[in-house]
């Protein structure tokens, strides 16, 4: 039941130690920096210290209520992340698999379009433009409404 924002790399195994005990189904999602065929050297991620942590915590609690989770964790990095490095992870634990899967997807759809993070790609020649919000992330979020 925790959200964290940090610049340091993380270890999925360490983050999951003891997670899901007493539960039946654990789902994890890990996002990694793709190198896009060499076009991308690193990703730079900016956040809003204070607001970001609060928003992640509130949204994790919302997902826990909505899907009846036994547990959840959100961890998101900021700063300069090299290609191949983990960017973020979400873990959900529930009695049955459907709720664990749905909650993880719900959190991801929200993180991609509503969590206070902004990113830009850094190529071999330096920083590029800030990445625009994607219509498909907005569409993904809309399926949870109503």
């Amino acid at each position: 039941m925790s959200a964290r924002v940090q610049s340091a790399p993380f270890d999925l195994a360490a983050e999951l130690a003891g997670f899901g005990q007493g539960s039946g189904a654990v789902v994890t999602f890990t996002g990694l920096v793709r190198d896009e065929g060499g076009r991308l050297v690193a990703l730079e991620i900016e956040h809003y210290p204070g607001m970001t942590e609060k928003a992640l915590q509130a949204y994790g609690e919302e997902a826990a209520r909505r899907f009846g989770l036994d547990g959840w964790r959100i961890l998101h990095r900021h700063g300069r992340l090299a290609a191949g490095e983990p960017i973020m992870m979400v873990a959900t634990a529930a009695r049955h698999r459907a709720a664990a899967f749905e909650a993880a997807e719900y959190l991801m759809d929200w993180l991609k379009s509503r969590a206070p993070f902004w990113k830009r790609e850094i190529g071999p020649d330096g920083p590029g433009a800030w990445v625009d919000a994607r219509a498909e992330d907005e569409d993904a979020l809309s399926r949870w409404q109503g």
Partner: protein
Amino acid sequence: MALDVLYFAWLRERIGHPRERIETEAATVRELVAQLSAMDEWHAAALADLSAVRVAVDQELADLDAPLAGVREVAFFPPMTGG
């Protein structure tokens, strides 16, 4: 009234600094935007297209009509793009 105004991502870069303290009589975010845009060309450029700008008031997402009474911090940033 004095407010901390924060900028992120390309808004921060266009304006040239991440935060500033602003003396204002603005009653709403919209009035604050008008005051900031009148300060110099960099603020004006960053805040020109408000459809590309999101606002948080005291670290909660808000819209342009949000009142500023009692508020300590207003932030402007592009749509979020996650990780």
